[in-house]
Each structure stands twice: as C-alpha cells, then as structure tokens.
C-alpha cells in the first residue's frame, strides 16, 4: 500500500514534465519559408472585401508565396492590438501587420519593433507617386517604416435626404452655428436626436472635426506640437460648440458602435452622423443609392480641409520570411494592389497616378478633394497623436458624455497635453 502513492507521484510528475516540454516547440507555426502571415483586424464588411481584393493581386504577382490570414476580429482593432503587442514582445511577429500612419506607428518605431523599408521606395519609385504628407507620417530620422495602402477621410457628415427635406433643410450648412440651427429645426420637426453618435471613440471623432472647424487646420495641427494652447479661448469655443452638438445626440450612445449610428441615420431616426468614409463601403455593400438614400458633405466649417488617416503595412524586426513580406509590401504599393483594395474599402488610393474612373461616386469626389484641400491628420485614428494621448482624450470625452461639464473636459485635455508636449 505504501508504494502506490510513490508510483503515482512519479507517473504524475513525468506527465507534467512531458507536458512542459512540448510547449518548447511553440512559435514555429509561421516557419514555412514561403508563407506570408498578414496581421489585420479586417474581418468583415468592406474591410474584408478590400483585403480579399489585395490578396488576389498578391497571388497573381507572386504565385510562389502563400498568403496566411492572421486576422483578429472585434473591438475596432483594440483586440488585435493586444494580441499583436504580446506577439511582438515574445519575439514572434507576423510577417507583416497593419498600422495607422502617424502616432500609432511611432510607438512601434520607438520600441524598435519595425524596420526601415526605404529601399523598397527607391526600387519601386514610390517617392514620386506617394504624396509627401503621407510619407512624412511614416518617416522618422530619414527612415521610412511602412507602406501606405489607402487614405480615409474622417471629416464627413453622412445625412438622410428624406429627413432633411421633411424638416425643410435644403442646403448643407457652412458653419457649426448654421448646423446647430438646422439641428434645432429638425428637432422642432419631431426628430428627437437628429445627430447620431455611438460609443466613446466616435464622440472623439466628432470632437476632432469640431476642433478643426473652430481652430482651422493650422491651429489644429499646432495642438499636437504644443504650438496651440489647449487652454486657449478657441479651444474653449470648440468645446462649447461640441457640447451644443451633443445636446442633439441620442441618449443610448454608450451602447452603440459606428455601424449602429450609421443605421440610425439611414433609417431616419437621425438626420446626420459624422463618420469616416469607411461608411461608404458599408452603404455600397447594403446596396443603398447615393444621393437618394444618403448624401454627404464635409463637416460644417471644415470645407477645404481633408482630415485624413492611412492604413499601412510594416516589416517587423525578425519577421519570418522577410522576402515574402517585401513582396507583400510591393503589392500593397503597386497600382493594381491599391485599386483592388480601395475600390472595395471605400477609401482612396495613396498613389497620385490612380485612375478615378475605377472608383465610386463618393471616392471620385474625395480624390479631387485630396488634391486640392489642406491635409490634416486625424486624432481618433492614431494619425495626429500617440496612442496614450488618444486614450486620455477618449477617456475625458467619455466622462463628458455623462457629466456635460465643459470646464472639466478642458482641464483634462490641458492635463493630457502637458504630459505629451510638456506645455498646456
């Protein structure tokens, strides 16, 4: 009887040890030499369609490479960013991953997790076809760290023409004040919450467009460099305008995401929603008719300004199959790749030599604006400020959504700016 426990212990211990040993082989799943694992959070809708289009071109251009879809769905990318962060930390990066140009990319550069791909720009002649504003957001100390795939516009109002017509609103407003009057008219006409918004980050999205409208592009850019003070009277005015706009929004915003607020506008529960032009891909996919079922115009007061963000692909340090990654990046930057991707995703191509005829009605207009407008980086989508700063602003805006305390919001914004620029 005495012996039995000992034998059992020995057996159990050997099982445990064997179990531990097996884990050592981990991390080699992407080891096969011709597999390119592309890490994104494009799992559905226009985003997935765009990625599929890009993959098709990639497989034609580089038939000896195999595309592996490393998609992580959910949370507007925040789930994916967590997975990515832990993989990078463990030294198990994907072949390439998606990152917004600008502040978001800077974090990876600072932690030496991605490599210079400047040589691809020279080989492929991209310096001549990619606009400088975009490339400068990808550049740090003369090294270029990623290849842009598309350009999105954030300062777009999407509106329901029937609702506007019923309330007698015929012209797109040209300033925030005029917009507030229209919103009042709509509310008097029975549209209880004429401006649809969703959860915290979509409110930041709205707030950033109000900042651009009230400060103008130059002072808005200065917010991120410390040249424009966050405790200035202009910012106070923008916060007040934002507060006034929020009075016309839906009370159930905390429980919604951007497709829901778009749906509020389409169904006529709301007249307007402010969202980036990935909305267009959604409307197209739902077979809605532009001009009849929805219209668009720049956020009032931001006409002539293009509030942009760009998705780009990177070459991580120690990427498995770096040659395959470089081939993927070549496809992303190629004219065919950009067309296959952007015609489906609702965005416009980064290449200035693209043919507008291949694109939809909204996109053709956006391509024209891109050429003529003043370009500013988006806050809510990681182009203007580092992720940590964005997180603090998002939290302050979320707090404002329930407290409605403009003074407190400005204080929080000033405090965040002090941390990140060293000045108010």
């Amino acid at each position: 009887m005495r012996r039995i426990p000992l034998v059992a212990v020995a057996a159990a211990a050997s099982i445990v040890l064997a179990g531990c040993g097996e884990d050592d082989g981990d991390g080699s799943q992407a080891g096969a030499s011709n597999e390119v694992e592309v890490f994104t959070w494009w799992s559905e809708g226009g985003e997935k369609a765009g990625l599929d289009g890009l993959v098709q071109v990639f497989e034609q251009q580089y038939p000896d490479q195999t595309f592996v879809n490393g998609v992580v769905a959910g949370g507007a990318g925040s789930n994916a960013k967590n997975v990515l962060a832990s993989r990078l930390e463990q030294g198990d990066p994907p072949s390439t991953f998606q990152g917004h140009a600008g502040g978001e990319l800077r974090d990876y550069i600072a932690q030496e997790q991605i490599q210079d791909v400047g040589h691809l720009y020279e080989e492929e002649g991209w310096n001549d076809v990619f606009p400088e504003e975009v490339v400068s957001l990808l550049t740090e100390d003369d090294a270029i760290y990623s290849v842009p795939a598309n350009i999105h516009r954030a300062n777009v109002v999407w509106a329901n023409p029937h609702v506007l017509k019923n309330a007698g609103v015929s012209q797109p407003p040209d300033s925030i004040d005029a917009w507030l009057e229209d919103l009042q008219a709509l509310q008097d006409n029975g549209v209880k919450a004429p401006l649809a918004v969703a959860t915290d980050w979509t409110q930041v999205h709205l707030f950033e467009t109000v900042l651009i409208a009230d400060l103008g592009p130059e002072a808005y850019n200065g917010l991120w460099t410390g040249e424009t003070a966050w405790d200035s009277a202009e910012v106070t005015r923008a916060i007040e305008d934002y507060a006034a706009l929020m009075e016309f929004t839906n009370g159930d915003r905390a429980g919604l995401d951007w497709p829901d607020s778009n749906q509020y506008m389409i169904s006529g529960r709301a007249a307007y929603t402010v969202m980036g032009d990935w909305s267009y891909a959604g409307f197209e996919e739902a077979k809605l008719k532009p001009q009849k079922e929805y219209i668009w115009f720049p956020v009032p007061g931001t006409d002539g300004v293009f509030d942009f963000l760009a998705d780009s692909f990177t070459l991580p340090v120690d990427a498995p199959n770096a040659e395959g990654t470089e081939n993927w990046l070549r496809t992303v930057g190629s004219a065919e790749g950009q067309e296959a991707f952007n015609t489906k995703k609702g965005s416009i191509p980064v290449r200035t030599d693209a043919d507008p005829q291949a694109y939809g009605e909204y996109q053709q207009e956006a391509m024209q604006d891109w050429q003529s407008d003043t370009i500013v980086p988006s806050l809510a989508h990681g182009a203007a400020a580092p992720l940590g700063w964005l997180e603090e602003i998002t939290s302050a805006i979320g707090e404002f959504s329930s407290s409605k305390d403009t003074g407190k919001l400005q204080e929080a914004l000033v405090a965040a700016a002090e941390t990140y620029t060293g000045s108010g």
Binding site: T199, S402, T419
Partner: protein
C-alpha cells in the same frame, strides 16, 4: 525517529509538483507583477514615475476613482440582489413545493451560460432608447403600458452600474439559492420540532433557529459572489465595451495594456488583488478555524 522521513516524505512528495506549479505560476507571477508595478516601464508614454509614485498618482486620478466607484455600485447591487433572490427561492423551495427539482434546475441554469454570451443578449435587452425607438426591456415596458418604467439603463451616469449588475444577479442567484438550500437541508428536523414544542412562532423559528444555522452558507455566498464581482471584466466588455461611463478597474487595466503602459496596468492589477484579498483572506482564516473545531 521511527516516524521520520517515511512518515512525511510520501505526503510531501505527493504535493511537491503542485507546490512547485502554484509557487511559480501564482506567487511567482504575482511577485513579477508587483515588480513591474514599481518599475518605470510605461512603454512610449512620457511618464517617468516609478516605485510607490505609481500607486499614489493612480489613486489620485479621477478616472481610477470613478472606476472604483462604479465597481462599488456594481458589487453592492450584485451582492444584495443575489443574496435576496437566492434566499427567497431557497426558502420557498425548502417548504416542499411540488416539482421542486424542476424549479431548482430552472433557477440554476443561467449559471451555465458564460458572462460573454449572456452579455451579448443583455446588451440588447438594456438598450437605452425610449419611446417609439425602444427595443429590449424598454420596448417590453411600453408594450405592456408601463412606459413610465422605461429608463436609460447602464447609460445613466448615476445608477448605470446598478443596471449593469442585473445580468449578473440573474445569472448567479440560482447558485446562491443552491448554497442556501444545502444549508437549510443540513439543519436537523429535531431543532425545528424542539422550537415548535417550545411554542415558537414561525417567524421566531426562522429568526432564532434557522437563520443562525445558515450563516456559514451566507458567508460562502458573500465571498464567492464578492470576489467574482470585484474581478468583473467579461460582462462589462460584452455589454458596453470600452466606455468610460461603465469602466471598472479590470477594464481600465486592459486599456492600459493596449497602449503599452505596463507599469500602470500592473499597478491596477496589484490594487485589484489587494481589494479581492481583503474579501477572501478573512474568509480563509474563518473557515480554517471553523474546520479545526
């Protein structure tokens, strides 16, 4: 010396693997977490606090205080709700209801559903729209003519977290009922009979005989529900996601790891551990004394 190594050796050998594993993966990692929380590993965030400053600056933060307040509201409603319903159902079932097995399973079943799955459904049930646009519970209220009861649920700045606790109460009340039912069944009939012979009314019977016997079950329920509530994350992520209005420390922690502020995330984790420990450790001491008796 007869009872030397042969006496305690096999026993020790038996538990050695688990001591090793628990030591490494629980206490070792707790230690590692604490050491990160005292470091200046803030990623690319331009903050250079380290050591105890990480704790003081976090505790002074409005956002963290709000998250603790949210957690407190959630926990109180969750505890009171589950204990109330659990005790009520247990008392009803204990009185020898017909079809007791059916009701017992019915009340217990919600526990089998994960917080994520029920959260997705409750997200819709607790939709804040009112009037013609209402869906979920608000729709139900307006359909049956009780539109006065429509409310913004978790979108309400003051009592939102109380609404957030509703799904949790729904899920765990059956479990608390099972705990109480087991407690009630372990009370010998002689005690009741003795009390009745002494002329105790039904109320006094419960007040002075039954309830005192239930206190171990109540304490277990309190601690189990309490520590679940303090760690809540999945339910809130499923219902409202990352929204400031319903933020609790665990969700805040997650946000900090997303932006790479490891030191701050570890600080929040340590505080959360301490808060849970305040609930769990007295319970462990109490039960070990109880068992020794």
């Amino acid at each position: 010396m007869k009872h030397g190594i042969r006496h305690w050796g096999p026993g020790l050998l038996m538990i050695l693997p688990s001591i090793g594993l628990v030591g490494l993966f629980v206490y070792g990692l707790i230690g590692w977490n604490i050491s990160i929380s005292l470091s200046d590993e803030h990623g690319s965030i331009p903050v250079d606090t380290s050591g105890i400053d990480n704790y003081t600056s976090l505790l002074q933060e409005q956002r963290f205080q709000d998250s603790l307040e949210n957690l407190a509201t959630f926990t109180i409603v969750f505890l009171v709700g589950t204990l109330f319903f659990g005790l009520m159902w247990a008392l009803l079932l204990e009185r020898g209801l017909r079809g007791e097995g059916f009701f017992r399973s019915m009340y217990l079943f919600p526990m089998a559903v994960s917080f994520i799955a029920s959260g997705v459904v409750w997200r819709w049930l607790l939709n804040a729209s009112e009037g013609d646009d209402a869906t979920g519970l608000n729709r139900l209220f307006s359909t049956i003519g009780l539109s006065g009861l429509e409310n913004p649920w978790y979108s309400d700045p003051g009592w939102g977290m109380a609404a957030m606790a509703m799904p949790a109460v729904w899920q765990l009340s059956g479990y608390v009922m099972a705990l109480f039912l087991a407690g009630l069944r372990s009370i010998p009939d002689e005690l009741r009979e003795a009390a009745r012979i002494d002329g105790a009314s039904e109320f006094r019977l419960y007040r002075h005989v039954i309830f005192p016997q239930l206190s171990p079950a109540a304490l277990s329920a309190l601690v189990i529900i309490g520590h679940m509530s303090l760690k809540v994350f999945d339910l809130i992520m499923a219902i409202s996601g990352e929204a400031r209005i319903t933020e609790v420390p665990a969700v805040y922690l997650w946000g900090m790891t997303t932006i790479g502020d490891d030191a701050k995330a570890a600080t929040i984790a340590t505080i959360l551990l301490l808060v849970v420990a305040v609930v769990v450790i007295p319970y462990l001491i109490f039960t070990s004394r109880w068992e020794r008796r």
